[in-house]
Amino acid sequence: MTRNVALFVTCLVDVMRPRIGFAAIRALEAAGCDVVVPQGQTCCGQPALNSGDRDHAAALAKQTIEALEPYEAIVVPSGSCAGTIRCHYPEIFEHDAAWLPRAQAVAGKTWEVMAYLDQVCGWKPEGVTVDAKATYHDSCSGLRELGIKAQPRRLLKNIDGLTFAPLQGEETCCGFGGTFCVKYPAISNAIVGEKADAIDATGADLLLAGDLGCLMNMAGKLNRKGSKVRAFHAIELIAGMGDGPAIGEEA
């Protein structure tokens, strides 16, 4: 059975690290999915929603719903953006009788990519080798809004050669918080500084997570402090693309 899925790329992956989107397509195709990238998509509207700008958030949500609703499932390489569509779109249209059912329908079939591969497809990577020690950070929205915890670990476990070093405070926020990190940079820096120290203390070669925003925050801090830890979105390794450049490395 072929699953027709739409990839919602997310604005951050589109602009900052396209290979996460390609890794998602590669893994989904390996799992037997037929992947489409709807052209009407831009951003899910989370920056507006979290800034209190309900009108612009609703406008972008409508555009996203229109772009995604024709498909059987919507898969997103970000727990935070998937969480916005799944948990917050129905809240945005709580009092809008015309849009609420459409928002709920899209919400009900939206998945974070690793959760989709693991829970829906029952797929696991085969023949992928990465000789490295990795540590994993649980990004907050995926963890607390979507319950993403075991799924990436189950997938990563099937990569040959990959070992794991537990991260002290793996469920503690990295201090990214979207616009928070530029509105309150000093507080954000104090938080990510501790996170970077904890990552370094694991002795891992690789930092893995499921959200590019958090990864950019942590990788950017690790680089500024001169750490040698390399950061990837977990889907890159899962899709067999762990041999490419890490975040901040030239291709």
Binding site: A48, R54, A59, G177, V182, K183, Y184, P185, G220
Partner: protein, 473 residues
């Protein structure tokens, strides 16, 4: 006057947080206490059979009483009066203070012994007592430290959390009549006991808050770990209670359920050392107890909260778990928040008391990571309530113009996919010009980012450009 104001409140949120972040001793102090609390709570919750079901029940109890506040408050009043107490109603902080001051004056009180109460802080009672020339002795050890240092509490459970024991030792040596000589916690506690015991027993009036008001019995409940409430409320002639109207629970079994949640969430203990229910003043034949008991029920914005979308916040039992687990609180401590209540619950409450224009930063200075909601014993959706304040701030035009314009332009472009593709293509090329060896160390318009961390240099083309080019082949 809405809250007890100190000098620090005149600074901006940014000034306060910068000062807090620069204070390494503060960081040590906050981390010691909050870190211990986090660990102990985790152990206590894991050992409790089905804590999640207990949280559901706690939330349901609070939602029920908040929906039927009038019913239970009237029942409480009738039963408290039947037990011999007098019940007073205050709709504002000023009214509440005036009632307490008038009662103190009627009792001809020269000094009052006060048992730690956050509601007292909220209504500005320490300040009101000082203005009325009534002496005040804080009997909770941490509140005693705060009083000696002339500061404000920085945490709702551990008011002196921001101080290390080394700082407290120096303070006691400077201020106590016969301070400790040995540098041990036991010797320091003994020094405080020598200082406080006489003042406590000599007070004319004892003032407390209430952790719970029991509607069926008219009792009020206090919890402490030092026994100071009992010692400061039983000997004086008059006991005055100030309590928020949301503290009501129907019956003793409900109170006991909430106590289980409160102690575990706050300190990881199964119960506090002292849990006392006070039902009316001394009765004929009783060997001790106050001659008069007055209960001041304070609204101070609470019914308005219920009407204006903050009903869930009235579930709060003031355990402090949200702040103990908050990454922001752990960095800046409690004073930087600038209100009576710090941390996530304080960020929801402070705009109610101090106004949104004065406190709009609080709702934004949050990463929305959801940890506070995860640990809340009454399941308050704190991130949702904080986002509610962000929306109100946006609607009322309190957000900075740069933010409004920036977000507006971005949203306008993002609503036009073709234009958006064009714009992101240019943005990627521009960003690449600024980078070297994969990283950008200075990025215009994102100085907050690059001040502290590097920005990865984007790929040569956006995902959409690459994907569509591949497909055309």
């Amino acid at each position: 006057m809405s809250s007890f104001t100190a000098k620090a409140d005149t600074a901006t949120f940014k000034e306060r947080t910068d000062a807090a972040l620069a204070d390494r001793i503060l960081k040590v102090a906050v981390e010691r206490t909050a870190g211990t609390a986090e660990t102990k709570r985790g152990i206590a919750v894991a050992a409790f059979p089905d804590f999640d079901a207990a949280r559901d029940r706690a939330a349901a109890i609070k939602d029920h009483v908040v929906a039927h506040l009038g019913h239970y408050l009237e029942m409480f009043e009738a039963n408290a009066v039947a037990a011999g107490a007098k019940v007073h109603w205050a709709s504002t902080a000023d009214e509440a203070c005036k009632i307490v001051i008038d009662l103190c004056k009627a009792a001809n009180a020269k000094s009052v012994a006060r048992s730690k109460s956050m509601l007292g802080e909220e209504i500005g009672l320490p300040h009101a007592l000082a203005e009325a020339g009534i002496g005040r002795v804080e009997t909770d050890l941490a509140e005693h430290i705060i009083q000696l240092a002339d500061e404000r509490p920085s945490h709702i459970i551990w008011p002196a959390m921001h101080k290390t024991r080394e700082q407290v030792s120096a303070l006691f040596k400077a201020k106590h009549r016969s301070p400790h000589e040995e540098e041990t916690i036991a010797a320091m506690a003994e020094s405080a006991r020598r200082q406080l015991r006489g003042e406590m027993l000599g007070a004319d009036v004892g003032i407390s808050g209430a952790n719970f008001l029991i509607a069926y019995t008219g009792a009020i409940c206090t919890v402490t770990n030092e026994g100071n409430a009992e010692l400061s409320l039983v000997p004086p002639r008059v006991h005055i209670v100030t309590a928020g109207i949301e503290k009501i629970v129907p019956s003793m079994p409900h109170a006991v359920h909430m106590l289980r949640m409160l102690a575990r969430s706050a300190t990881g203990a199964a119960l506090t050392q002292y849990t006392t229910f006070y039902t009316g003043p001394k009765r004929p034949g009783d060997r001790d107890g106050p001659e008069e008991m007055h209960i001041v029920l304070v609204d101070n914005g609470r019914t308005k909260m219920r009407e204006e979308g903050l009903a869930e916040m009235l579930r709060c039992i003031r355990c402090g778990a949200c702040m103990n687990h908050c990454v922001v609180f752990r960095q800046i401590g409690g004073h930087a928040y600038g209100g009576t209540y710090p941390g996530p619950m304080g960020s929801v409450l402070t705009p109610v008391f101090d106004g949104l224009p004065q406190s709009r930063d609080l709702a934004h200075a949050c990463t929305l990571n959801g940890k506070c909601q995860e640990v809340c014993p009454v399941r308050i959706p704190l991130p949702t309530l904080l986002k509610g304040w962000r929306e109100k701030s946006w609607r009322e035009g309190l957000e900075p113009t740069s933010m409004r314009v920036g977000l507006g332009v971005w949203a306008w472009v993002a609503s036009r996919p073709a234009l958006y593709r064009f714009g992101t293509g240019i943005a990627v090329r521009a960003m690449r010009l600024l980078g070297r060896k994969g990283w950008i160390d200075r990025l215009p318009l994102a100085g907050g980012w690059t001040q502290y961390r590097d920005m990865p240099r984007p790929a040569a083309q956006t995902f959409m450009a690459q994907y569509n080019k591949e497909r055309r082949k």
